[in-house]
Amino acid sequence: MKDRINRFLRKHTKPDKSIRRPNLKGTLGRKARRLREDLKGKSAREAALLALSRIRAFLEEGLDNGYHTSRHSRLSWLFILPSLAGVCLFFFLPFLVVIFYSFVNNPVQHRFVGFANYIRAAGNAAFLLAAGNTLKFTAISVPLAVLLSLGLAVMMDTKIPFRSAFRTAFLTPMMVPVASVILIWEVLFHYHGLANDLIGIFGAGPVDWMKSEYAPIVIATLFQWKNLGYNMILFMAGLASIPRDILEVARLESASSLQIFLLIKLRYLSSTIVFVTIMSVINSFKVFREIYLMTGNYPYDSLYMLQHFMNNTFNSLDYQKLSAAAILMSLIMIVIIAVMFKAENRISRDLEY
C-alpha cells in the first residue's frame, strides 16, 4: 500500500508536465546518448539485448511523457476504440472515398478528372437554385432566430410571474415532432386559411402561401417556432453565467439598463451568440424536413433546398456529382464555423470570468 501511495505521489505531484508538449527530439536524443554510454564495453549479444529492451521500454512508455503512465494511456484508447472504429467506418473512411470520387470520372473506371465534377456540380442549375435558396433562407432566418431568442431570454431573465410556465411553453415546440403539426400548419397557411384572413384585416390581398414567392416565409415561421425555445435556453444559461459583481458595479455607477445590456451582457454573451448562430445555421440546413413534409420531393421553386437536390441526385445515382456537392457543402460549413470562432475570439479576448 505504501509503495502504491508513493508511486501515486510521484506520478501526480507534477501535473503541469501533462500540459507541456512532448519534446520528442530531445527525449530521443537523450535516450540514445544514455544507451550509447551503457553499451560501452559490452559484448555484441548483450548490447543488442539491452538496446532492444530500451527501445521496447521507450515504445511502451508512449510518446506522451506527461504524468500518465503508458498503461493508463493505452487503456484509455481501449475505451475510445469502439466509438472510433464506428466513426471511422461510417464517417471518416467513406468521407475519404467521397473525396476520391469527387475527383474521378466514375466509381468504376477511376479516371482522374481534376475539378471537372466540381465545375459540373456548381454549374448545375438545380444545384445553384438549391444553394441560393438555402443561403437566402439561412441569411434571413438565422439572424432573426438569434435576435428573437435573445429578446425572449432577456425578457425571461427579469423578474416576472409564471416564469417557469412560460419557459415550458416556449420549449414545447422543440419536443413536438414536425410531422405532427404539419397538418395544422397547412390549415393556417391555406389560400382560405387563417393567415390570409389576418393579412386581410390590414388590407393585403390573399396570398397563395405554399405556391408562391412567399413560401419561404411560411417555412421561416415554422423554423422560428421550432427553434426559438432551444436558443432561448442557451441564452438564458449565458445570461446566468455573467458574473454578478460586474453587473452590480455597473449599477452602482448608475449605468442605464440599456448600457448594461449593450456594453456588458452582450460581450459576455458573445460565445453563446456564436454557438446559437452555428446551431441555427445547422438547423436551417435541416429545414428540408419541414419542407418535405409539407410539399414532398418537388416543391415550388422558391423552396427547393440543397437536401432536395441531394435526394434527387441520390435517385439518379450520380456519385461523382453527389460527392463534389457534399464536399463543397462541407467546405462552406467549415468556413462558416471558422469565421464564427475567429470573430468570437476577437470579441471575448479580454474577458475574464
Partner: protein
C-alpha cells in the same frame, strides 16, 4: 467507495448547528441598533411611487408579450390535439378545402372558407379506435419509429460513455485532434454526412434494412461530445482518490464515473431521442422500402380521405415526446445548457 464523497453530500445533516450566543437577554437588546422610521419627505415618496408604478407596468408588459408568444407557440399543438377528436365529416366540413383533392370532394359538403375551430362540435374517439385497433398500418409505422429510436438511444449512450471516459480522463495531442474531428463531424449537416453513410451501407449490403439507420445512429459523435464535456467537470481528485484505493480503470469508470453522470446521461438521452424520433432525411435516402419508414415520413403520405385519422395519428405520435418532456424538462434544459459553449 461510497465514503469518497459521503462528506460532500450530507455534511448538512451531521454538522452541528452553530450554537446561539449565550448571554442574558438584556445585554442583547442593548446591542441591537434601533431603527427609527422617519416620516418620508413627500418628494422622495412620490419618486418611489413612480418607480414602483414603472416597475409594475414593466412586469405587465412583459407578461403580456410572453403570454402572446406562449399562445402562438402552443396553439398549433393544442389545435392538433382538439382536432383529433373531431369526426371525419366535421373535419371535411372545416378543412375540406385544404386536403380534398378534386376527385373525392364530391360527396361531402365542403365549405368555401376554411374554418379554424378550437373545439369540436362533438367529441368522438372513433379515430383513435380506428388507428389503434382497425388499421394496422399506422400502428406498424409507430412501432417502426420505436424500433429505430430505442436501440439508437441505448447503444449510442453506451458507446459514447466509454469513449467520453477515454477522452475526458486522459489528455494527449492525438486525442485532442480526434476530438476536434468529432466536433466538426457533429456540426456537419445531413447533406454532407448522408453521402458517406450511403456509400458504407451499400458496401456492407445493409441498405434498405434497419441496420442502415441503426449503425450510423449508434456511432454518431453527438453523445461522445456531450458526455466528454460533462465528464470533464467531474473533479479529478475523485478519480485519483479511487486510484489510491486501488480501483482499476474499469471500476473507476463503472462505479464512480457513470453514477456521477446519471443526470447527464438522462439529458443526452432526451436530446438523442427527439433527434431520431423526428428523422426524415435518413429513411428517405437509406430505406427505399416504404413499409420500413418511420411514422414521421409516413404522416406526410397519408391519403386525402383519412385526414381525421391523420390528426389522431399525429397526436399519438407527439404524445411520447411530450410525456418525456413533461417528465424530464429539467434534464432537457440541463442538456441544452451543456451543449452551449462548444469551445471549452
Amino acid at each position: 467507495m461510497r465514503s469518497l464523497w459521503d462528506d460532500r453530500e450530507d455534511t448538512g445533516g451531521r454538522e452541528q448547528k452553530p450554537q446561539r450566543k449565550a448571554g442574558p437577554p438584556a445585554q442583547r437588546t442593548q446591542q441591537r441598533v434601533r431603527i427609527v422610521k422617519k416620516p418620508m419627505d413627500p418628494e422622495a415618496l412620490a419618486l418611489r411611487q413612480k418607480k414602483k408604478r414603472k416597475e409594475w407596468t414593466r412586469i405587465i408588459v412583459t407578461v403580456v408579450i410572453a403570454s402572446a408568444f406562449a399562445f402562438l407557440f402552443l396553439m398549433p399543438i393544442l389545435l392538433t390535439f382538439t382536432n383529433s377528436f373531431m369526426s371525419p365529416s366535421e373535419i371535411n366540413a372545416n378543412y375540406g378545402q385544404v386536403f380534398a383533392s378534386t376527385d373525392n370532394g364530391g360527396k361531402v359538403f365542403i365549405a368555401e372558407k376554411v374554418n379554424l375551430k378550437f373545439l369540436p362540435d362533438m367529441v368522438t374517439f372513433n379515430q383513435y379506435v380506428t388507428v389503434l385497433f382497425r388499421s394496422p398500418a399506422y400502428l406498424l409505422k409507430f412501432w417502426n419509429s420505436v424500433f429505430y429510436v430505442v436501440p439508437i438511444v441505448v447503444f449510442q449512450l453506451a458507446v459514447a460513455s466509454l469513449a467520453a471516459y477515454g477522452f475526458a480522463r486522459y489528455y494527449g495531442k492525438l486525442k485532442a485532434g480526434i476530438f476536434f474531428a468529432y466536433i466538426i463531424l457533429m456540426l456537419m449537416p445531413y447533406q454532407v454526412t448522408l453521402v458517406p453513410n450511403y456509400l458504407v451501407s451499400s458496401w456492407l449490403h445493409i441498405l434498405n434494412t434497419r441496420w442502415a439507420i441503426w449503425l450510423p445512429g449508434i456511432f454518431s459523435p453527438f453523445a461522445v461530445y456531450m458526455l466528454t464535456k460533462y465528464m470533464r467537470r467531474i473533479p479529478r481528485s475523485i478519480y485519483e482518490a479511487a486510484e489510491i484505493d486501488g480501483a482499476d480503470e474499469w471500476q473507476i469508470f463503472s462505479r464512480i464515473c457513470m453514477p456521477l453522470c446519471r443526470s447527464g446521461l438522462a439529458s443526452i438521452a432526451i436530446l438523442i431521442f427527439i433527434d431520431y424520433w423526428n428523422m426524415v432525411e435518413q429513411p428517405l435516402i437509406l430505406l427505399s422500402d416504404k413499409e420500413m419508414h418511420p411514422l414521421s415520413v409516413f404522416l406526410s403520405e397519408i391519403n386525402q380521405g383519412e385526414i381525421s385519422l391523420a390528426f389522431a395519428v399525429a397526436v399519438i405520435y407527439m404524445i411520447l415526446p411530450l410525456l418525456i418532456f413533461l417528465y424530464g424538462e429539467e434534464y432537457l434544459i440541463e442538456g441544452i445548457t451543456y451543449q452551449g459553449g462548444i469551445k471549452e
